[in-house]
Amino acid sequence: MSAPKVLVLRAPGINCERETLHAFARAGGAPEFVHIRQLLAAPERLDRYAILAVPGGFSYGDDIGSGRVLAQEMKAALGPRLLGFVGRGGLVLGICNGFQVLVRLGLLPCTRGRLEEEVSLTHNLSGHYECRWVTLRTTKSRCTFLPAGLTLRWPAAHGEGRLVARDATLQRLLVDEGYATAVYVDEQGRPTEHYPQNPNGAPLGIAGLTDHSGRVLGVMPHPDRSYLPTHMPDWRRTALDRGELPADGDGMVVFRTMVATARAES
């Protein structure tokens, strides 16, 4: 079985492309950079890949609204093709700014199979950007590859990560119907809306989403900054306690399961 091909999207202002590429390569994928201009010039290129990854960053400066300009550009030129990509079995990952792009684009949560903005990732209640390690719990969700019940520590690094649905009913539905894939948890492992365990104040503690098909994953915190054992903030104590350094950091599970799923389905 050959390594699944991963399209790691580049665009002006995207700045986590190198670590995203390396994480997919480490998981056994065959990742390649494709610049948004190349993709817009030849949209059919997308169909050569098993996985599309939209990395984090500040696409086009994020000046008007995070991810909005890139989402607008992609929606206009690629919208139906993206739905087709997912419909034919492609997997999509959006991390941080990439998640914001997928949400503005309407690819997440996509509860009605249409590209429409149902939720927003908006200003943290603290009013500013923040970089801090958070603890997540993966929930029993529609996501076809991310296992439920994992406790994961990843770094969050954003100014606009508060996931708010169009209305409270939809917010609840995101959890009840398995669109929420991960929640911020407190020391007792309970979903939390409290700062700083929940760094942005997202209602119900929602940190990540999938779509109706379970093949698209968006997360605010960064698995691409926590996939190596030495990425973990307290790896020295962990190594001391276990007698050795673990093989992976907590973020690796995303890349491994995505590559394994793509490979199994190829």
Binding site: R10, P12, G13, N15, C16, R18, E19, H22, R26, H35, R37, Q38, G56, G57, F58, Y60, G61, D63, I64, G65, R68, V69, Q72, E73, A76, E117, E118, V119, S120, T122, H123, N124, L125, S126, G127, H128, Y129, E130, C131, R132, W133, P155, A157, R166, Y195, P196, H222, D224, R225, Y227, L228, T230, H231, P233, D234, W235, R236, R237, L240, L245
Partner: protein, 972 residues
Amino acid sequence: MQAWRIDVVARPDQPDPIGDAALRSLRSAGLDGVTRVRSRRGYLLGGELAAAQVQTFAGAVLCDPVVEAFAVHAPGDTPPPPAAGSHAVVVVPRPGVTDPVAHSVQKALGDLQLPLVATGTYRVFDVAGTVAPARLLQAARKALANDVVQEVQLDALPTGLPGDPPPPDLAVREVDLAALDAAGLERLSRDGGLALDGTEMAAIQAHFRALGRAPTRLELETLAQTWSEHCKHKTLTGNVRCDGRTIQNLLKSTIAHVTRTLDRDFCVSVFTDNAGVIRFDDEDSVCIKVETHNRPSAIEPFGGAGTGVGGVIRDVLGTGLGARPIASTDVFCLAPPDLPADRVPPGCLHPLTVLKGVVAGVRDYGNPMGIPTVNGSVHFDELFVGNPLVYVGNVGMLPTARARKQPRAGDAIVALGGRTGRDGIHGATFSSLELHTESETLSSGAVQIGDPITERKVMDAVLRCADEDLFSAITDCGAGGFSSAIGEMAEGLGAEVELRHAPLKYRGLAPWEIWISEAQERMVLAVPPDRLPRLLQVCAEEACEATVLGAFTATGRLVVHYAGTRHADLDLRFLHDGLPVQTREAKWTPPRHAEPQLEPEADLAGALLAVLADPGVCSKEWIVRQYDHEVQAGSAGKPLCGVANDGPADAAVLAPKLGSWRGIVLANGLNPRYSRIDPAAMAECALDEAMRNLVAAGGDPDYTAILDNYCWGSTKDPQALGELVRATDALCALALTYRTPFVSGKDSLHNEFRVAGSPGAPDRVIRIPGCILVTAMSVIPDVRRTLTSDCKRAGSRLVLVGVTKDELGGSVYWKTKGALGARAPRVDHALGRDVLHGVHRAIAAGCVLAAHDLSEGGLGVAAAEMALGGRLGARIDLAAVPREGGVDRPEQILFSESASRILLEVAADRLADLQANLHQVPFAVVGEVTPAPELVFHRDGRLLAQVGLDAVERAWKRPLDLDGTLAPEAGR
């Protein structure tokens, strides 16, 4: 020009964090009557658009349909008056100030195939409550905006976009110097903001007299930029007469002499490029540069710090044939954040405003660039009230084979990146002058706002072109703009430039303004003609504007045209070598300070809590969390450590090549307070502290390069220059012993602030204490052999390496008592070296669990921070501390800031290993790590102080807990 106006607001049922933050700012500015603030984002779009187009665009792009609502106002519509009891504070960028948001709006217009009309932005704060309009306006100018770059109006929304500026003066203007006498030359320099002294002006006069013509304005400006202190470092490269000896070229005979003498084999390129370069592994090198951006940050902290970050990133990007920036550092020196308002002189911003501004500036430039800010420190002293210091550093990686560059005659001169505007004119010369009460209003042209997304595109384009070997030289446009960048690259060659090709942000710039503008985000490349088409293609793919401005020649002349008319024809030898060498007088008279006579400390626990709560010592988590320190995934040792990620790290550890364990350790050392007593102590301790920090985190003292970064008062004063010479001598002597070469450095002189007097009261000058920031960078084989400072295991031993001396002079302990003292810490060179190497051997051998350097606050603070990081306790016997005679009082042992000491946590069964590795270095087991969360200090069993970890945490975190992460105190 009339425009569409679009207001975007949070829907009424949605929180408005921006408005809430504004409410907090206005309240803390004393406007207690304000009850509520809601924010609006405003956009202006050229009137040519049709109503339907505006509606579609606003709905699709400007507004977040999930949480926001928008309203469109047609051109010419009169804005409605604010609701009763409410005022609209309107903040608009001043004309000519960079507005990155407006650029993004234009980009989005293009995406939707709409006409590319003019765009503008503004912000509105709708303020409810009881407040006098005049007071609100006054407070808003400081708390919600910066007057220098933004206009603040009350209840007056903008209705249009600025029209075209008046046409520029394109004529060649000659400046008649021939007839001027000495006083006339100096007046011309002062009035024109040239910052050249009488001798320098006379040299220019003589040069053009011999040519039989007058210089053009553009030529004179070119000389002023190139000869500025900022670009030429003429004080440090000049001669100094000091105590009977004359030092020829101070920099060469001290700092550069150390590097030459040591001749370390890991140095690849030193003092010749934008940054110092050392070897990383067989293929790659790592380069490092630290800059200051003090003057702009004093006037506009946000823009000043941000463009400082942007500038040093370009320095690294322009090193060799292009280096990839991988990490940033930042160090600030400010007046105390709680300084009473009546101690802030007119013309100065309050230090808390400066602090918030510079942190936001670093954040909003560094984070979008995708470069982690991994290390830094903040130092507080009231002497920085008029001249805050902002040090910004950057580290980059480049293939060693591409570490050198050389432009060739025939290469095209290509400008890359941002467009040129009137921003930043005279920055280089402005930074060479003293600040004063009026600087805020007079020099606003020197202040710039950054546009990081443009720089990111430049970086992506440059690195792709570098990989394809498409250029033969590169440098950044920093101080002096094109004039310095092209002038420096043309040295030894020649250049012909056509300024009409330079892309401009707006019309109306005279040729000399285009030539010296310091508009940000620009690089200049020398491109061989056969590579040019490919280079332009790559830049287009990366959406980075690239323009050919001319070509390098072999004529030895710098020729500048505008639309074919010659505006300059300068001999490059005169430009680069015609600057008269200065000789300055230096004399150091030791200041008279006495040791305070204090009663023995009655409350040792209370004293420790007071030292922990000093703003220089306290937790900087509020700052650290706003910087992205994880991006690029190279982080292996973070700025905060321990079980709760809140213990202070001594140094940053990076593994920059993904997939390799080879690493870099990065640390800083600075202590301005010692400079008040003895600049030699300040300088030595800066180096020793940087090295202690580096070694404690796992760095190798034998594979370490250092950088010197001077910030000083006026070196025209012999005493100040004497201090500088004394500090330099001490620094160099220690660097020779430590075998650490200087690979790059920088200086910022004239950091003085003149407070205008009144009739009967003379002007008062506030001079900063002379500071040298030492930055140390080590290359290590494996990041898995590095350490953090937090205690790991109850039951392990605490070992203090080094000797504690009677050196409370300049200490934080005495600062908390309102005293300075006279005995500042000095470094025993041989002992210092042995401590660094001994501890490194022990860490490399794996017998150390945690290590933390002793600096501000001494043993007491180091032990408290290690315990807090691990959420464990510590029990320490002060009788066991290795110390010199005369050190007997507990407060001396606990708070002396003697150099060359590191506190280690070592498992009991590894003590023999430790001893074997430390060789002859003095050390002692001084205590143990305990499970109970408290610090206990005793002397042979007699209890001296007992402090709970809760109290330690509160004291240490409270001062800068500006986000309120601390839980409310029990019982409140």
